[in-house]
């Protein structure tokens, strides 16, 4: 027998269930007076640098129905491409931008809305620039392990075309599932869990 590696196993995931909002957005779910506000509600303030944007969308099941019980989180770089994290080694991010947002979506429709800024460019491991993107993480009843994906920007056509992640997708016809649509002054990013339009999800 060789030596043992002694690694621990990651705790297995379980679905967030139908009541995830009690724990993660209690004020939204009507449990007030415990926490002053729901975390992740506001990402920007008046001082935040960068172009203000609104990102809207729905998480849609295999029958085309929008989920009303999902929890959606996003994580993104600031306008200069820096993350507000102690593990950001390249500099200090804008202190007026959290980079992290969380929402339960609208009560009646499940549609999510994030008021944020357009992120800057972040390098891939080999130094090549990645096109501006927002990382999404989706949990809900019926989702056994949180789903990771990314939203890219439609006006960044040139950057998207050489993005190290987007170019890795074997079926290039699926790339548009990761690119938001411009909807007036907003971006629309619908996430399809199944079907022809199934969003590319990441094992990352």
């Amino acid at each position: 027998m060789p030596q043992s590696l002694d690694y621990l196993k990651e705790t297995a995931s379980q679905t967030a269930g139908p009541y995830v909002h009690i724990g993660c957005t209690p004020n939204f779910s009507g449990i007030t007076g415990v926490f002053p506000e729901d975390l992740g509600t506001s990402m920007v303030n008046k001082e935040t640098e960068g172009e203000r944007i609104t990102v809207k969308g729905s998480v849609i099941d295999g029958k085309g129905m929008a989920l009303k019980d999902a929890l959606i989180e996003i994580w993104q770089a600031d306008a200069k491409g820096l993350y507000n994290s102690p593990f950001e080694m390249r500099g200090t991010a804008d202190p007026n931008f959290t980079g992290w947002g969380r929402t339960a979506g609208e009560m009646d429709t499940g549609e999510f809305v994030f008021e944020t800024i357009k992120p800057g460019v972040v390098p891939f491991k080999d130094g090549r620039p990645m096109a501006p993107h927002i990382t999404f993480w989706i949990v809900a009843r019926g989702i056994n392990l949180g789903l990771h994906t990314r939203m890219y920007f439609p006006e960044e056509e040139a950057a998207n075309k050489v993005d190290p992640i987007l170019t890795r997708i074997e079926h290039q016809s699926r790339v548009p599932t990761l690119i938001a649509a411009k909807d007036g002054s907003d971006y629309r990013f619908d996430i399809h869990l199944q079907g022809d339009l199934e969003t590319v999800f990441f094992d990352i």
Binding site: G23, V34, G62, F124, L145, F202
Partner: protein, 246 residues
């Protein structure tokens, strides 16, 4: 097992045979909510190696006390008083300090405080069912609550959830983000639960079951259960694999 150098590399690959698969037809809701195409496998980039951090200053005095954080002045919820404690570690066994844990649960009768909940068991006017805390330097955490009750749910004709507490865990990178559920030692409903049984490996299920911990009980006050949580560990950066010239 510990490294002197604080690792900041990519996280080890997630073992997807250990986690439940997306499509688990005995848990019916997963059928229309499970991606059907292969996931795009990628090593982490900075976008996943970083993640949000939360200061200890966001935590209020009663945030980790579900017995008192929703109770009326001078009152308390009904049920078994318990302390839940443990550590957040990574796959290398290193503590994960200063990370946010959120937890939510049903009351002692198995009823959630939620508008979509229709179980006939009553709400407890003194129990909200949510709490949060941030791990200490050793990755340790604790909170006080009422032991949740089991409850029936519409899946099979007569499916019941074992007593459980939901946990949302942040690590140091967004790739570590995890939601799971803690079960209680000795509960016969664990083996019968379609959600628990989405996990293929019994050892992975056992890791979600908190043992009774008499060493951390409060005599004449509360029982205690221990629940350690393991997040993905970082790979070594002893020699970075950069191409020459980059």
């Amino acid at each position: 097992m510990t490294n002197e150098k604080r690792e900041n590399g990519a996280f080890m690959q997630r073992d997807r045979n250990w986690h439940p698969p997306a499509y688990t037809p005995t848990y019916k809701t997963s059928v229309l909510r499970s991606p059907q195409k292969a996931l795009l496998s990628l090593d982490n980039t900075i976008s996943e190696m970083t993640g949000p951090v939360f200061g200890h200053n966001i935590i209020g005095d009663l945030d980790n006390d579900l017995i008192l954080n929703f109770a009326k002045e001078g009152e308390m919820p009904i049920g078994e008083r318990i302390v839940v404690h443990g550590r957040v570690l990574d796959e290398r066994g290193l503590p994960v300090p200063n990370v946010l844990l959120e937890f939510w649960q049903a009351n002692a009768g198995g009823r959630y405080r939620h508008k979509k909940e229709s179980y006939l068991a009553p709400l407890d006017p003194n129990f909200g069912g949510c709490g949060r805390t941030i791990t200490d330097e050793q990755g340790g955490y604790y909170f006080r609550t009422i032991k949740p009750g089991p409850y029936p749910w519409p899946n099979g004709v007569n499916d019941w959830r074992p007593a459980h507490i939901h946990f949302s865990v942040f690590g140091q990178g967004f790739a570590q983000r995890l939601i799971t559920q803690m079960y209680f030692e000795g509960d016969p409903l664990i083996a019968k639960c379609p959600i628990v049984q989405t996990i293929p490996d019994q050892k992975a299920i056992d890791q979600l079951v908190a043992p009774l911990d008499m060493g951390n009980t409060l005599p004449m006050d509360s029982l205690a259960y221990k629940f350690d949580i393991v997040l993905r560990g970082r790979r070594s950066t002893m020699f970075e694999n950069r191409k020459e010239g980059n």
